[in-house]
Symmetry: C2
């Protein structure tokens, strides 16, 4: 039908259809510089709407400076800051490079990324790899010898071994693993325990085939894949980005196609409103902090793992994942209540991602900015909590701020009426 005849509802149905039919397949693992378009040796990516350098602060600033050091682009944090201010080093927003960042979300050319292709459309998305169990990580604003050692391990061992296994496998479709993981207690944002095991199970035969070449590296990689609950998160993020990008850019659609933090606030993009970020403040958070930490320490250093909520996972599938109570607090009944509410602000129920406790109802999928404004119900997101001194100090629930949705609705009305 001619574009002019499409109304908002039809456009949103098209976006919903794309969110549901995208088929993300992990096709490779390669250093970012070799595969991410535009990511040059002098580029550092970070989470959220890009800002001028002076606005990056705290953990996000430290993460960017640490990345410059890790990549050998500067000799000291001061040197890195100078090179960034002078334009010798370039800061980019992950989303503009088909990437998606966890917390500070820093990327540089040497870091391996998952290459995920939506095979019904061919669009690719990228996410770099989980650093490991130490709460002191580069993406939580820390850079020291321990972080450097671990990042080097990821670059030199985990990335290449997993990449070889993925290529041997001829690609690994992620949707079946994600679908199954939702029946096994994951919501695929703050909990990816089952998905990490299911993914490892897919890799087993191809890891075994590498044993004669490098047995020690295979064993170390196996450990990295399953030593805790989070390895799959970056795959869930890349799969979600490949899905959301497929649904972005549909004229007249009022459905959210990205949600992201930087250290200054929260922002959303809308499918029918181009690449504009609609910005708001940080939202209040209900968190459970790790032993020995207090609320005063909570700080914001960015985050784009909320791409999972954008496609109907994470907080939108929290009733799949009652074990999250141990990690982020709350009660099972409240998780069910919060999850059910989200049907009021979404276009439809995902035909592939189901919630067993709701008798297999599909997850609420496709956040409509009009419905958010009209109902006052804000998207709920499961997130990791960073501390002022760097590192992860807890996890919890956060709600997107209303300002983003109100601004986006104004822009929509200005654009289409």
């Amino acid at each position: 039908m001619p574009l002019g005849n499409i109304n908002r509802k039809q456009a949103n149905n098209e976006v919903f259809k794309r969110l549901c039919t995208a088929n993300p397949v992990l096709v490779n693992v390669l250093p970012a510089g070799q595969i991410v378009p535009g990511l040059t040796k002098n580029t550092i990516l970070t989470s959220g709407p890009p800002m001028s350098w002076k606005h990056y602060r705290g953990g996000q600033r430290n993460a960017i400076l640490g990345t410059a050091l890790f990549e050998g682009l500067a000799t000291s944090p001061e040197d890195a800051a100078l090179k960034i201010s002078s334009g010798k080093l370039k800061i980019g927003g992950c989303h503009d490079y088909k990437c998606v960042g966890s917390l500070a979300g820093v990327y540089s050319a040497s870091m391996p990324v998952f290459v995920v292709e939506n095979d019904v459309h061919g669009n690719k998305a990228f996410c770099n790899l989980y650093e490991g169990t130490n709460p002191r990580r580069l993406n939580y604003g820390v850079y020291d010898e321990g972080v450097k050692k671990r990042l080097t391990f990821v670059n030199d061992i985990v990335g290449p071994v997993v990449g070889e296994a993925v290529r041997q496998a001829g690609g690994i479709p992620l949707k079946p693993l994600m679908q199954r993981a939702l029946h096994m207690g994951d919501e695929l944002h703050s909990r990816s325990t089952a998905a990490s095991l299911l993914f490892t199970r897919e890799l087993f035969p191809h890891l075994i085939n590498q044993m004669d070449i490098n047995p020690s590296e295979v064993k170390q990689t196996l450990n990295a894949l399953t030593e805790d609950h989070y390895f799959f998160l970056r795959l869930s993020m890349a799969a979600s980005k490949a899905t959301a990008d497929f649904a972005h850019g549909i004229e007249k659609s009022s459905v959210v196609s990205a949600m992201a933090f930087n250290c200054q606030g929260f922002a959303i993009r809308v499918s029918g409103l181009g690449d504009t970020w609609f910005k708001g403040p940080h939202a209040s958070v209900e968190a459970k902090l790790f032993q020995g930490h207090s609320e005063e320490e909570i700080t914001w250093m960015g985050g784009e793992s909320t791409i999972t909520e954008t496609i109907g996972l994470g907080g939108f599938a929290q009733a799949c994942s009652f074990a999250l109570q141990k990690y982020q607090g709350g009660s099972a009944q409240n998780m069910i209540k919060l999850n059910k509410e989200l049907y009021k602000i979404t276009i439809g129920e995902n035909p592939d991602y189901h919630i067993p406790v709701l008798d297999y109802r599909g997850t609420p999928t496709g956040i409509d900015i009009f419905s958010v404004c009209e109902t006052g119900i804000l998207p709920v997101m499961d997130i990791g909590i960073a501390g002022k001194d760097g590192g992860q100090i807890g996890a919890g629930l956060v709600r997107a701020p209303m300002e983003c949705f109100v601004k986006a609705r104004e822009a929509y009305q200005a654009t289409y009426h």
Copy 2:
């Protein structure tokens, strides 16, 4: 305290403590004839209270005859039947050999068994290995060339390879895997998806160490471990048997220490009442049948996997496992309701096995025959359903018959008053 001073409540508390503190560790995999005390070359074990040969019928009879053929103890089913009637071949009840049988539950000397040791007491329990995905299996009353081939594969490849990995690992504690699996959608009777993956993950480093000797066998074993959801069930059963046996034989206790079917009916044992089986009829079943099968086909051929319910798993943890709706029918709300009711007939809440949707309440553990009689609430069990022509045709919920509990209470009163 002197035995004479212990009352029923104290005895039941001791049983509950043992059910909760048992620590089952998989220490080996060996042919049954090498490790199960009393299991001679001419012995065949089967599920439920032992009966004289003429009472075995249908699938359970066929499974026993098939076992004789597989073991090379007879040349035809008729020859096997003659040898059994004449006493040349001996039929034993699994439970009397520290074994526990799935469905018909047939064991013979060549079949590998998991050797599980309760390391706080040293008592051992055994269970043979899962045959594989084909619904036509020896323990479902079928014996043909396909079944023989698969059993030979389990004897020659899966058993030895897993055994070597377990010995290399120095034993694998099962409780931590089971505890975690309950947070990942398993109830460890009809669903062991997560536990099978967690177990495989534990074995993996010790499987890859065998790659230089027999790569093809390792790959086939890896596949057998993860090709479907059920591999871990036999480990869950052996762990439950090691746990229940530790709690059996406590004077004055009225807690159930085993529940089992044979083809003629259901029966229970009680901790304080020795090795007597208290028998009842078969119970009605609420089942979901696989496509193409009908209720008229449902048949009973034994089953002792209800040892899992005896220690607070399976039907007693069904609210962990909403994904079971797809397999055995029912609704999530009903699963929660049924699970909660069982607290009224059990001694306490398991401190290690938790139900996330009930805000981590411990599973109802230790079935008291007096509470069953007083409340009229019967134990709920998740079971696989066999068809008249052999093979699995579905799965569902079943309730133990009241007769067993009434008879056991009478015996208790006669013994202790």
